[in-house]
Symmetry: C4
Subunit: 234 residues, 4 copies
């Protein structure tokens, strides 16, 4: 696979990942050193690589220099630290989903509750229709460290509009055209997992009719946000 | 409708909206870029306008300059960014409720749980009687982007003392004489939605007798706060 | 009642109350401008007075100067702002409990859930035996603004070791030998209200045997903390 | 027991404990002055000692100088303040578990809910298999201040891979090869207590098969984190 001009360079990806990892902390998605974000990037020789968090390092100690550059099979190309223990799963996704520019993994607590019961999150809120276009599906319980999780992610998301998948008894993986979009999906996944949890605690929420889900999803994907000018972000 | 002298000017409204949006974040009412606040303002030519958050912009990137000025049908008068995708709903409220100076929309999680079940929040706490004068009602599930939501808000609040309405499967809209009052109503709505949720989780809370609700509401609306001198706020 | 030499002077009480009010915010006990702390103080003429938060003022805007000095019937002696709308309740407590040097009122959410069901918080955790010496009792649903609430607090706490009372459908009042101790009781009340709530959500917690409650309470009241030297606090 | 060269010196232990106590606050594990961390250290004469938090002191007021040095029976060797009221329990653990370099005690709320019901936390999430290698067990309801709690901790953890134990109606104790590892176990204990609580609120989570638990535990203990170079921490 040749490099796409729109992927960020490695130096830029390293910088962005620092900020995005802190965003996981600020949004309450991670405990201690768990969770990780990666980005597909353009290597110096024009080949695609991935940049990912090092394993088991405190969030407050992350810097651009601590991020690890790997090839798309997870082999370390540049970095003094070992990459995330979830590297194989990220790499599998990048190899099999050439549209994906960022991957996020968390054990965010409300999403984990649905995952522990192997239950998809039902689409009972318009914000969920907006971002996920329907339920958030559940993938298989898999070993960590080989291709099992990556394959579970890719196979489960096939045919879904959702950029998030709950891996059974494990946690959340999200994908996006870039790492920031994947982080947004992780934040919104926990937000809707939480509201749907609360809604079910005192009764049965009303489903949103499927045609309304479609209308909400299409509007949000096309009309929300800024389309004609550069967007400030902070 | 001619301009009321008591509405803030556009420049003042832009400044206030920055602080009020950050207040939504500080109070845990919003995730990522969701949620928005608007204010009715006095335009340069003396006509009424509304000032509102731009669509899909990070809260940390908001400034007075990024706010968007629209007429009361939602058409952009001044602003380099697209306005909130909820602009039509805000505009409808300003057109049909000339007493309203501010509108807030959130997907705050406990309120959303009641909204997903299409259940009003019952008045089981004196703080709720104080601020809302009774239950917080539920409006219809509506498409986003046209007048449906605005009409649902206005029609549902008609005949209620509550400045908050839960829109089914969607979230919260609140109104107030100014934007700060609408933000306060949004904060208190989530606060009572949460306490009422907790109360119902382990049994059936006792209702407050209707005459006590009336006494609490009347006292709070008339005796609470500062009435004889300028109020410091920070 | 003549002044006790151990009550702080008014200037000192004003300063301490600023910090203690911020502690309510930091501990998540209050929303918007709700909640208040007062302290019994020694007035300039040697008579006892109370110092209390002004009504409806943002926590971030509180300063020593904004606090209001009242006599023990709630009449304002010094202050440019109106005192808390709960002033009559605080004043009643100071008049009828000469041992009390501080009073706190909050609508902290888990405690409010028990209060909305008119249920005392059962003593199922050693930390609750330590601080409260048994269940936290429930007082009557009362009108706000006259002596009803103050009488309900004093009458309900009579015969209990608990420095906290849940006022039905309303919230929490706590007392202490000084305002800091009352704030501690408010923090611990919400902490045990929350843990007890969680415990009951998935079954029936085991009660702590009464003799163990007594042993825990007596040990904590006598052996916990620093007794022989000045205690740093921050 | 002679001093192990790998235990930190007393000065270093004092410094580390300040940061680790603040970590309890940042992770939401403690209310007011509850909770404590201790470390086994190498005293000036080469004998082993323990360094522990003083009793009832605000977290914000802790400094290296306020920490208390005790022998392994809890007698104060150096310190102007009284040690934690849980000192006897920490000391018992150090005497009977020579492999333990750090002990943590908290009343973290979700763990306390399981403890109040005398129920172990079941292993329904891979993160729990990673860190705890199975369920988190429950120890007996014991008096505070003598050897009962220490003995309950040591006896209950015997034969478990878990570094955490829920003491019935009381709270959490965790152990580790150093104080930082014990703090990590306390953070992860509350994290999995919370997710397991949520999971059980809406149904029965699926168990992770025992052989998968073993695989996850062995991988995490051996492959996670950094093994070949010094690890940055912050």
């Amino acid at each position: 696979m040749s490099a796409q001009p729109h992927w960020p360079g490695v130096a830029e990806a390293r910088e962005r990942l620092v900020e995005l990892h802190l965003s996981l902390v600020d949004n309450g998605l991670v405990a201690w050193t768990s969770g990780n974000v990666s980005a597909r990037a353009r290597g110096a020789d024009g080949h695609e690589v991935m940049v990912i968090k090092p394993s088991g390092i405190d969030y407050a100690a992350l810097s651009a220099a601590t991020m690890v550059v790997c090839d798309l099979h997870g082999a370390v190309l540049d970095g003094g630290l070992s990459p995330s223990s979830d590297t194989a799963a990220h790499a599998y996704v990048y190899r099999h989903r050439p549209d994906v520019g960022g991957v996020v993994h968390t054990h965010s607590p409300y999403a984990c509750a649905w995952a522990a019961r192997h239950e998809p999150i039902p689409c009972v809120l318009s914000a969920m229709a907006d971002e996920f276009g329907g339920p958030i599906p559940v993938g298989p319980l898999s070993a960590i460290g080989d291709d099992s999780i990556g394959r579970g992610i890719v196979d489960t998301l096939d045919g879904h509009r959702s950029p998030a998948v709950l891996m059974a008894n494990h946690g959340v993986f999200t994908i996006g055209p870039d790492a920031r979009a994947a982080v947004k999906a992780a934040v919104m996944c926990e937000d809707v997992a939480r509201s749907a949890h609360y809604a079910h605690q005192l009764g049965i929420p009303k489903a949103i009719p499927p045609d309304m889900v479609d209308r909400l999803y299409n509007r949000y994907q096309n009309a929300y946000g800024q389309h004609d000018q550069p967007t400030p972000s902070g």
